[in-house]
Symmetry: C2
Subunit: 303 residues, 2 copies
């Protein structure tokens, strides 16, 4: 009944015979507690957070629902292991396009061990974490029935430059998102990034909370952006979602805002709004073109 | 005619016989070009920035006016030396209270040398830079005619904890800001931090620009907050100002926002708005107290 998730884009995969998360058909996601105390820290976070009355309802929707913990057979056959029981956030979606963005210009925190800090610092400087305030940790873009998903490997994703990230953010909302297309049309940007329920509005809602909340500092946490390309093509209301996951390194805020997360979030917001403005500008241009009378050249001289 | 500035709170002081900035009586500030290429980088920044038409007028007021460069006798007697000629931002103020805040959760940048990065990283972790996203680099608080200024030494300022920073932000706007007063009244908060021309509004104006501008990345730059306590006591319109200084480490933004500066700025904004809300809450409390009929105890029972 439990199986490896079909749409996991980062982290350890149970499908490789390793210890990894499992899902059921009822919309639940079972995440084995990670080693070195990370798993118990993440469990403690979910327990505190789910009963924290200071968290507004409209912010809770950005987090997976927490159903507790459960002993289950581990995916690598090592026997019983405690799992977090969470909402499977891609349950019900057929072919979701997903980007996993690790937020923050640093993934370490002063309380960690020197070794951990050194390892993080090196990776932060090697990826776009330092320069952009975030890095893409994984992704899958649905291209269509024939070609399926573009899902680059871990090494390729980790070598993404700023320009690669910009390109991914455009291809994510383009009708032809294949890697060969050097000029993706961003035709889904107005419906997926834009609009009252779009990604940009959701990110701005989250940002407003981060400007004020001083309870939690989210280190090395991921922000997922996801939607179904097919539902947009079918004309059904597209449901684009923003979700936060991975809370093994959440620390107490102690009265200070999480400026590391907030800075990275603002940088991501600027990327999304840039794609949106460009797509609006090019659609106005296209409108102007299509309204021109026939047989007229670009400078308005009729032939 | 040139002399050492009276109200410099951080950096090298010409008054110690060292190479440092000088001022004249006409409101100009002469800053000798710093060594190791910093001075020429700062000059290049001022030249680019002062003619950059993308910078809106309402943002320009946060920067000292740039008048060019000039060869002058250095303050340490070492002969002629090129100086930046800038607006003296405290010119005309009698006894300004000033806080110099170095913004950003890191003062280094990947392009710098390993030694420089290491030195910065150590200092960032030792001060509040990593935890708060900013650190106080210097300050002077005017206490009154008799006691003059509280101007702690460099070592004391560098050892400030998060709690010390919070206390300084409160004492900065209190009628009795002396160190012995453990419960500063924040009585100037509504006029200095609050109001349409107050510090908070100015910081929010700056923040809106940083959410959008992708031209400049301000590393290790200082934000000054200043006002005259005496002008508030006299009842004249208080002019609280926010100014940015020190641009030896400004790099090109290359289409990415300065999330490092922005995150730190948001953290500072939260500190300022926290002091403001507390002072509003306590003044409402005081009003309620003063409206109670005489001879009534706190729980409303009349004696």
């Amino acid at each position: 009944m439990l199986k490896a998730p079909k749409h996991q884009v980062a982290g350890h995969l149970a499908s490789d015979g390793k210890l990894g998360p499992l899902v059921d058909d009822l919309g639940r996601f079972y995440k084995p507690l990670q080693g070195e105390g990370r798993g118990s820290k993440e469990l403690a976070f979910y327990e505190t957070f789910s009963s924290d009355t200071r968290v507004p309802d409209h912010i809770r929707k950005f987090f997976p629902v927490f159903y507790g913990s459960q002993l289950l057979e581990a995916s690598n056959g090592s026997g019983l292991c405690l799992h977090l029981v969470l909402q499977d956030i891609v349950s019900g979606r057929i072919n979701p396009s997903i980007i996993d963005v690790k937020i923050g210009s640093r993934t370490w925190y002063p309380e960690a061990s020197d070794d951990y800090i050194k390892k993080c610092l090196e990776k932060d400087a090697r990826t776009t974490t330092v320069s952009l305030g975030f890095r893409i940790a994984g992704l899958q873009l649905y291209e269509g029935k024939e070609s399926g998903f573009w899902k680059p490997g871990r090494k390729e994703v980790q070598s993404f430059t700023v320009d690669n990230v910009r390109s991914v953010m455009r291809r994510f909302v383009s009708s032809d998102s294949s890697i060969g297309n050097e000029n993706p049309d961003c035709s889904f940007a107005p419906t997926i990034y834009g609009g009252p329920a779009g990604i940009l509005e959701q990110l701005l809602e989250l940002k407003a909370w981060f400007e004020d909340q001083t309870t939690y500092h989210f280190h090395s946490c991921s922000l997922l952006i996801l939607f179904d390309k097919e539902s947009v093509l079918k004309g059904s209301t597209p449901v684009a979602e923003v979700k936060l996951i991975d809370f093994a390194h959440v620390l107490e805020g102690k009265g200070v805002i999480d400026h590391n997360f907030l800075g990275g979030l603002c940088s991501l917001i600027k990327f999304v709004s840039d794609v949106l403005s460009e797509s609006k500008a090019s659609s106005i241009e296209a409108d102007v073109e299509s309204e021109k009378p026939h047989n007229c050249t670009n400078n308005g001289n009729c032939t």
